[in-house]
């Protein structure tokens, strides 16, 4: 669509992802993660997946990130802990990292990528809904059952025992 907007979003995503890794304060990492997740939502929009972008924001930013920040803030003294970034076993680390990089590059080169049309699809969320409610109803229901189980489990665990 537009190279400037795309470049901006890529820069925000990668830059804040780097911040997540190198930041010495845990809460700063969490806040940098906010921008990374937002950038990924932007990338979904470039693929015409607006519903996925919305879900990304609701689930990852509104849900998981808030829980993460809650966890950091409620844990006593964790926010003042300095995370060390000294490297250990550099030789082995370099080999593993380069191996993963090479693997990813070969994957990217060997995949036959789908070319998206440059015209906006008229319906996006509708077709997802149709697929979930018709073709993939059973997996959808099984997934919801799993989440219900997790919910009941969490309620059981957090219950006051006396």
């Amino acid at each position: 669509m537009d190279n400037i907007a795309f470049g901006l979003i890529i820069a925000i995503t990668l830059g804040s992802a780097l911040m997540v890794v190198v930041s010495k304060q845990l809460l700063y990492s969490a806040i940098a993660l906010l921008f990374t997740l937002f950038g990924i939502a932007g990338l979904y929009i470039f693929m015409w997946a607006d519903f996925m972008a919305g879900v990304q924001v609701v689930v990852y930013i509104g849900g998981i990130l808030v829980l993460l920040i809650f966890g950091i803030m409620l844990t006593n003294k964790i926010s003042s802990v300095n995370i060390s970034h000294t490297s250990l076993q550099r030789g082995v680390g370099a080999v593993v990292t380069l191996g993963v990089l090479g693997f990813l590059i070969s994957m990217i080169n060997n995949t036959s990528w789908l070319q998206l049309s440059s015209v906006e699809p008229s319906q996006t969320a509708d077709s997802i809904g149709r697929l979930l409610m018709m073709d993939f109803l059973l997996p959808f229901e099984v997934a919801s059952l799993l989440l219900l189980g997790a919910l009941i489990g969490a309620a059981m665990l957090s219950r006051n025992t006396n």
Partner: protein, 358 residues
């Protein structure tokens, strides 16, 4: 719509086509910001006057010199705004400076970008997205993070308490809000704001406009739950324990002053408008006229949308001076034991109604 119109309006042959998009986004953002600022002035004046009348007082009437002196105190909010802008910007020395500065902007952005999907009239909507209403729900969850950051970075126990209460409250009340919107989406079969409004045109029961609050008992219940939960999401009385002046000074905003405080203030009013605008769109026909088929030009559309939104904002102010503040446990009880079960039942009920009646 405005985005599409502006992109078409720009000549396609400009040297740098990528720039068009960025310029269009900025061109859309400026009027929205001006609108929020002007609307906040009106809403603050309304809040001052309505609260005074409810308490049998007269409110600002114009005393002294300068901006305060004008008739009926009409310029009182302007004076207040100028005062906030000119005040010293204090950052506590023990605060986490970067996050302290960042927090008000995150809160404001969460309220600000929701405006891009609000349909002010038939043509006056910045972008009529496929997922309009879902987009608003999604971006409104951004404000929580800003409030948590404000509370934590202030390095003040009242702030942190306020932030924790606020976050717990907003996260809880997001669920009934979303579940009530599911009812709307089920009936209208679309998430586009204009699509939802178009579904509500025409008559129902022979004489009422086909707005979703009149459509069936379940949608009426959904509207009530949506609106009350929306008030809770704005952290307004009776759900204002995050701010609770009598116990927490000003909650997460205790340490903020001047311009930065003004941004929190502005985003509270902007959030009120977003909640009212979504309620007006999803349940009260948005820009549709109350007399179906009459006065439905775009200009009247703007008038109807604004009147409906402003009426709901008036309701919020009315609530504030009518109901006492809820306690923390009562607040959670209302949400988890009251609204969420009712909303789930509502979804079931609307499904059955849709199958049987139409």
């Amino acid at each position: 719509m405005i985005v599409d119109w502006l992109i078409d309006w720009f000549p396609t042959s400009v040297a740098w086509p990528g720039l068009t998009f960025v310029v269009v986004v900025i061109l859309c953002a400026i009027p929205v910001f001006v609108f929020i600022a002007l609307y906040a002035l009106v809403a603050i004046y309304g809040e001052l006057k309505i609260s005074s009348f409810i308490q049998d007082k007269v409110g600002p009437m114009g005393q002294g010199v300068g901006l305060h002196a004008w008739r009926w105190g009409l310029l009182q909010p302007v004076a207040d705004a100028l005062k906030l802008i000119l005040k010293e910007d204090i950052i506590p020395s023990s605060a986490d400076k970067k996050l302290f500065i960042l927090a008000p902007f995150i809160v404001f952005i969460g309220a600000f970008i929701a405006f891009s999907a609000l349909p002010f009239s038939q043509t006056l909507i910045i972008a009529d997205m496929n997922i309009g209403i879902f987009y608003i729900l999604a971006v409104s969850s951004l404000g929580v993070i800003g409030i948590i950051l404000a509370g934590w970075s202030s390095n003040n126990k009242w702030s942190l308490y306020g932030a924790m209460r606020s976050a717990a409250q907003i996260i809880s009340y997001e669920i009934p809000v979303a579940l009530s919107i599911v009812v709307v989406i089920m009936l209208t079969g679309t998430m586009s704001m204009q699509g939802i409004i178009q579904y509500q045109s025409g008559l129902i029961w022979g004489f009422l406009p086909n707005w979703l609050i009149f459509n069936n008992p379940f949608t009426f219940l959904a509207f009530i739950i949506f609106f009350i939960s929306g008030v809770a999401e704005c952290n307004r009385t009776p759900f204002d324990i995050p701010e609770a002046e009598s116990e927490l000074v000003a909650g997460a905003f205790t340490e903020y002053s001047g311009m930065r405080y003004a941004f929190f203030f502005l985003s509270e009013y902007a959030n009120m408008f977003v909640v009212s605008g979504v309620a007006a769109t999803a349940f009260m026909g948005g820009w549709l006229s109350p007399i179906p088929g009459m006065l439905n030009t775009p200009a009247w559309g703007l008038f109807w949308f604004m009147s409906k939104s402003m009426f709901l904002i008036f309701m919020m102010i009315w609530f504030r001076w009518t109901f006492p503040r809820l306690r923390v446990d009562q607040l959670m009880d209302v949400c988890w034991k009251g609204f969420i079960p009712i909303s789930l039942f509502n979804i079931f009920g609307v499904g059955i109604w849709h199958l049987i009646v139409g």
